[in-house]
Symmetry: C3
């Protein structure tokens, strides 16, 4: 049997299958600094130990999406090495702050399988859970991916599509106090945002090959389409593809301009990478306040349900939608999430 | 009122105005490592905890220019987002070593305003001060920038141009002992340098888009001209511009070859970015010893007043000047500073 | 005398000469994170403090090649600034794990000199030793480089070519226990590998200018050919050359796919950079199990002697050799080393 892993194909998965992913990872100040250098994020709780301690954290927690990418990366060799497309996310809940020095590991369960009509591919639904070194769940999410079959003639498994919540259950969040709005980048608090409000985040950032490769490797994500120009030059797009999570983090960092106090992503309700991004493209973003929620018994923070859309080579002053007019063809990401914001 | 910050225009500033800048930042070993990867700096006190402790520091301090860039970055959203040009620096004094784990924050005061004759822009003079988590001043400097007016018809404020010292006051520096010249990269000490001496730093380094973008984001500097190829392709230069501070750090790292023992920048007397740098350009540098000074009561170190000039695509064996012959058109930076050097 | 170091020429070296290299360096979590971002390495002992502690390390050690590059980098200004080519390595032994917080320094001894028949260059053999802050040897290796003469007319020194072991002495390695194969990325242990076995590591990674420059600067390696496009455009290759050690680390990271449990490089028997790599090239790798050895009195681990070959723009399913058919022209590196693997 070959010692090199070529990844699982659709027929290698079974409903209820549990997978322990390789390579636990201790997260450090080095990862935090690289995340800053890659995205320029300025959310204050993640930037300053002093601010974080003053509001109630033991110290500055790591950016939520950095944790997401690290856990996601661990699942790639087992789940999506032969994926055609990463179709969507749901029920993503950030349950525990991750601090420098924590060691993260990941496991997945296959919760759905459905062969596609072509019989060449099938959709795999996996729930992936990230743990810290104390065995506490830090993150849990469902993703579904279209995976190639090894052999088109392999019989289809019984189709099972899991029921997934349209809106993720909102987890608790650390109690905060003493928020200093003069240091956080904005005076706008939870009550200042209205359902339906749209915010153009104004700025655009151009992505370079070295940047997305370094980011994706930082997450120990081995998906081949991001790294191998020799092969991808002959592939679907004729070039390397930027990891979708890189776009998520770019959009989140851009969203600081307008959402500076929405400091913590508590849950991701859904996400779709609706078009690819390549190096040289410039990413813009805009957000819509989709809903607002109180946290039970809490008057320190509320949760904003935000839908952030990222575009490539298209400024967002006209708030482009996925399924809009031809002029809206530049949307590449739609991310629907709950962010915690001081009241 | 819009929640997104488009930055202040000239008429938004007033003399004596005080600004608290957003997003305090805890500096870590990650920032130090990235600084090394971006510039290859080899000054020994900043590279080795053991060497730093042996000479008298509690541990290796962070590179002075890294501290400068972090403080500078905080001032950008409030002061220079609508700047046409960063015109100059003065009275920059490094008052306190910054160690990993320190949290830096910044405040500015507007100390001068003068509308330009075009009535389209004005010069803003700001004194920016960086603090550590104990409220101690780590750095203070003046810069002046040409900022656009929102409305050309806005009335001009009374012109006030501050008097600025031509040479910064030399601050104290930690007492050192047991300097090991065999480990520091050079046998040359304070007394080996002569006023008027010129040093070609020999090497050249080519800058890449990914490098200057990562550097500028590491400093949480949001100036748009560095990141947005989509917009800048239509802009003044037709492409992204490298952050001037990136050039300062490149030149300082190059200056190690010839100034290895000038380990600590105590003050910057003045600095001018006289021409832009773009990715693909190769930076060279040379330095002139402009003056020498004793530190009161100190026989361990002296201060060299150094003027370092950086060029693009032009080796420096002929010591090119800003206002020299046409062949000197490649100078991009002139930086006049005091560096501490063991005697 | 010039204050800038232009590096030693062939006639500057003497047999038995001892050199203390400059700029000791404290290695931190920042260096580790950058190494991950640059190569995507997933070897578990170096990735997870928890895993490392469970098997018997005080915490996750740094990647062996990171340590090699840091020590190598220190030797460049004194030994190879005027090198035409880095010809080979031998007797490289990793004697002590390096942990974050350790400070590394390096010394070399010239152990051989031989002028080439052209009288324009000569081969310098140097044994370089790396130390930690306790003065313990962490690494020792021999390399030989072809170095330019300053003056072709300089007389040749007596030729002395040292005898070097074909296979490095295998050092001890920390005793391990409780290896969890489900977390390490592979079920294959020492006994599963057979002498003569060949493993194609499958994946390819394209290198960017910003990546190899950041890597090489992280190692404080000042070799000019890697950084100066202005000069190299007129040079031998017409462009910047990727540091050979960057290729070693790329190949090692690729080898995880097939050799996941070969977690520690104990020794390098030999290495040759047989062709240059430039940005834009895609690196592939394959490995051959050349030999197997027990460690005296140890039943926890064994040592695999592995020869890894890296190629550019050439997948390795046909296991290309250096001196093979024309179709094998893509091999750029051959690295012969001992890796420790749990039994």
């Amino acid at each position: 049997m070959s010692k090199t892993g070529g990844g699982n194909f659709f027929e290698d998965f079974s409903l209820g299958q549990k997978i322990i992913h390789a390579t636990p990872r201790t997260i450090t100040e080095g990862d935090r600094a690289l995340y800053t250098a890659l995205y320029g994020s300025r959310f204050v709780v993640q930037s300053s130990d002093e601010f974080a301690k003053a509001v109630g954290y033991p110290r500055a927690p790591l950016d939520d999406l950095l944790v997401f990418h690290i856990i996601f990366g661990k699942s790639v060799p087992d789940i999506s090495l032969n994926a055609v497309a990463n179709l969507g996310y749901a029920e993503c809940v950030f349950q525990q702050a991750v601090l420098c020095g924590d060691t993260l590991s990941a496991r997945s369960e296959i919760i759905g399988l459905k062969e596609n009509s072509s019989a060449k591919t099938g959709t795999v639904y996996a729930r992936t859970t990230g743990f810290n070194q104390r065995g506490e769940v830090v993150l849990s999410y469902v993703r579904w991916v279209m995976v190639r079959k090894r052999d088109d003639a392999s019989p289809a498994p019984p189709a099972h599509v899991p029921e997934l919540a349209k809106v993720a259950a909102l987890p608790g969040a650390p109690v905060i106090s003493n928020w200093k709005f003069e240091l956080s980048g904005s005076r706008h608090r939870f009550d200042d945002y209205a359902i339906g409000e749209k915010i153009d985040h104004l700025d655009g950032v151009t992505v370079e090959e070295a940047e997305h490769q370094m980011a994706t490797r930082l997450y120990q994500n081995t998906a081949r389409v991001h790294f191998n120009e020799f092969a991808e030059a002959q592939g679907r797009f004729g070039r390397r593809l930027v990891y979708g999570g890189h776009v998520m983090s770019m959009a989140r960092a851009l969203s600081f301009n307008g959402l500076a106090n929405a400091y913590h992503i508590a849950a991701i309700n859904g996400g779709r990478h609706v078009a690819p991004l390549f190096a040289g493209g410039t990413v813009f973003a805009w957000s819509e306040i989709k809903d607002k929620a109180s946290l039970p018994g809490r008057d320190d923070v509320g949760a904003l349900r935000i839908v952030t859309r990222a575009t490539r080579d298209m400024p967002c002053m006209e708030f482009p939608l996925i399924d809009g007019s031809p002029g809206n063809a530049g949307v590449i990401l739609e991310l629907d999430y709950w962010a915690v914001c001081p009241r």
